[in-house]
């Protein structure tokens, strides 16, 4: 029984219960921070285990796979769990300053922790039906977080979010049903052994497409992304940042997992579709961002275009490209969470997220401006920040395969990203405030350091990855190697060689 596989799941659930019981007191919010730190500690322990022993698999209740419930961590899972831990800690700190006591009494921290548990569970599970259950855990807590406070605009955003996510859930479950009917198994490793050798590739492709649509809605790829910009700008800033960092990435993770482990029977067909999806996602996302005039809406559309890069890495399906996708996942989680946190501070100091109603942040809050520039430039792909390396690897991977137009799309989208980032820069930071107020950071009062510390931590993370990319890239390469040759994964779970 490998306790280090289950601890990253148990800790957030325990923290959720504790912080719910303490929700009326100030100590409740610190119990959430402490719980996140402990969860990060266990995530790092798991990472150490994976670094030492390779793929770690555990059978819950000692039922042998493929009959029992399997938790399994390869490099990709371990990396994602660690990054979830980091995001959890930083946003928990931010939430102590951002979330009003009224929302805390409604159970913000409990739902926050359950969301973290759901995300971690989705990364660690080795079983398709459990993946569905973890998606639901994640989904129901994200519904709660999205409508917390009950402002009409939140209700409106939630209607679209809930409707489209429930449709994707139904498709996911249908796909699971058909796949189970075809193979008689739900264990991912077992499926990875059975599905590539099935005779009826046509039927397998149909199921693969169903999974692609179901996860595509979750990951917000073209043309299934409309729920995201309709809802992500409505909840509190902590929630926006948490959603932006983690929720779509679980969809991307599921896509990567299914389309490297299970559906590799007809790469020429499935991954070509993914390639088109990726390029169109990049382009539509960034064009949408260019049309927006709200801080958070611009950022929401950017999530979509950046998801395109990760799917591009999966679609190219070479070791370098997959490593690039993994690297991009990590980079984007850090950067995107950070940008949404910055938008929260901008709203608190300058009074709005509408770019035409704010300004003057550069002259009165230079520290915030500096902290914005780091993730913004990283997102656009300036050296020496993390985004540069992530984009460089993906462009190189597409050039190696001579997909000129994919490389061109990736580079052009990078340029357009700079364009919309300069729009935020020019409107929110550079021009004077239209109401002649000076939005200094002192307006934050006692919240100041609670809000700025997480931003600084994440910015430092971006800088570290950017300045010393080699060890991080080596991790991503190992992860890609494991994904492209899933024999080790199958062996670790089932305990047999093929």
């Amino acid at each position: 029984m490998s306790w280090y596989l289950s601890m990253p799941l148990i800790v957030p659930f325990a923290t959720a219960i504790i912080s719910y019981l303490l929700r009326d007191r100030a100590v409740g919010r610190w119990s959430s921070v402490l719980g996140s730190v402990v969860a990060l500690g266990f995530a790092l322990l798991l990472m150490a285990q994976v670094l030492q022993n390779g793929i770690v698999a555990g059978q819950m209740g000692n039922w042998p796979a493929p009959f029992g419930i399997t938790l399994v961590a390869d490099y990709l899972s371990a990396i994602m769990v660690v990054i979830t831990g980091i995001v959890g800690v930083t946003i928990a700190i931010y939430a102590t300053g951002d979330i009003a006591p009224k929302l805390e009494q409604l159970g913000f921290h409990a739902m926050f922790q359950i969301l973290l548990a759901g995300v971690t569970g989705a990364f660690l599970t080795g079983d398709l039906f459990n993946l569905y259950v973890w998606f639901e855990v994640m989904l129901i807590s994200s519904f709660g977080l999205l409508v917390l406070g009950g402002k009409p605009v939140q209700i409106d955003g939630a209607v679209k979010y809930v409707a489209l996510n429930l449709v994707s859930t139904v498709l996911f479950l249908t796909a699971i049903a058909i796949l189970y009917g075809m193979t008689g198994s739900l264990n991912l490793a077992d499926l990875g052994r059975i599905v590539p050798n099935m005779d009826d590739t046509g039927l397998v492709t149909v199921v693969a497409m169903l999974f692609m649509i179901a996860f595509g809605v979750k990951a917000a790829v073209f043309p299934l992304f409309f729920w995201l910009p309709a809802s992500y700008h409505t909840p509190t800033f902590s929630v926006s940042a948490l959603f932006a960092a983690l929720l779509t990435k679980v969809g991307v993770y599921a896509l990567i997992r299914m389309f490297t482990l299970v559906f590799t029977h007809d790469i020429a067909f499935t991954h070509t579709i993914l390639l088109w999806v990726a390029c169109l996602t990049m382009v539509t996302g960034v064009v949408g961002a260019a049309a927006q005039t709200d801080f958070r809406k611009v950022l929401s559309f950017h999530i979509i275009s950046q998801i395109g890069y990760m799917v591009l890495g999966l679609a190219l399906y070479t070791p370098l490209a997959i490593a690039g996708a993994v690297f991009y996942l990590v980079h984007h989680i850090i950067v995107k969470a950070n940008l949404f946190l910055v938008s929260g501070v901008a709203e608190r100091t300058a009074g709005s997220t509408d770019l035409y109603k704010i300004g003057g942040l550069y002259s009165s809050a230079p520290l915030l401006a500096a902290l914005f520039v780091v993730p913004a430039f990283s997102l656009a792909g300036f050296p020496p920040l993390s985004g540069f390396w992530a984009k460089y690897v993906l462009v190189k991977a597409s050039l190696d395969l001579q997909f000129w137009w994919a490389a061109f799309a990736a580079l052009a989208v990078g340029l357009l990203t700079i364009f919309s980032m300069t729009k935020i820069w020019g409107e929110a930071f550079w021009k004077p405030h239209p109401d002649r107020v000076e939005p200094t950071l002192d307006l934050l009062g006692w919240r100041k350091w609670r809000l700025l510390t997480p931003i600084a931590i994440l910015a430092a993370g971006t800088l570290i990855i950017g300045l010393f990319p080699a060890p991080f890239f080596a991790l991503a390469e190992t992860a890609a190697g494991q994904l492209l040759s899933p024999e080790a994964y199958i062996e670790a779970v089932l305990g047999v060689t093929q």
Partner: protein, 120 residues
């Protein structure tokens, strides 16, 4: 039996898609419950409807003697029903809140989060 189930599932899917295409939020919700049940039925039927003998192993044996029912799809359907029920309850309350906030359930008219250019 499989054929009857397959036709039922198809009919349920068709009806729910028809309902979900409606602009009225309430009808969308009914479509959603219906489609959840259609999916539950399809999970049930892919587990092969062979026998209705419970999968119990007699004392002293290591495997069931006669062909027994597949217990796994039933466990899956049970889980899916519970989850689906929870989600439906949430969606219902959300619809109620939307109705009290906006006074309408026509999705075209609920545009607070994404205002048209000429509204703003």
């Amino acid at each position: 039996m499989e054929a009857v189930l397959a036709i039922t599932i198809g009919a349920l899917f068709a009806a729910s898609v028809y309902l979900m295409l409606d602009r009225n939020l309430m009808r969308f919700l009914f479509g959603l419950t219906l489609i959840t049940n259609a999916v539950n039925l399809s999970i049930f039927s892919v587990g092969r409807l062979k026998s209705n003998i419970p999968p119990l192993i007699p004392e002293g044996e290591r495997a069931p003697i006669e062909p027994v029912a597949n217990a796994l799809p039933q466990a899956l359907v049970l889980t899916a029903i519970v989850i689906g029920f929870g989600l439906f309850a949430f969606a219902l309350i959300l619809t109620l809140r939307a109705y009290t906030s906006f006074g309408t359930l026509q999705t075209d008219e609920i545009r607070l989060a994404e205002p048209r250019k000429d509204d703003a």
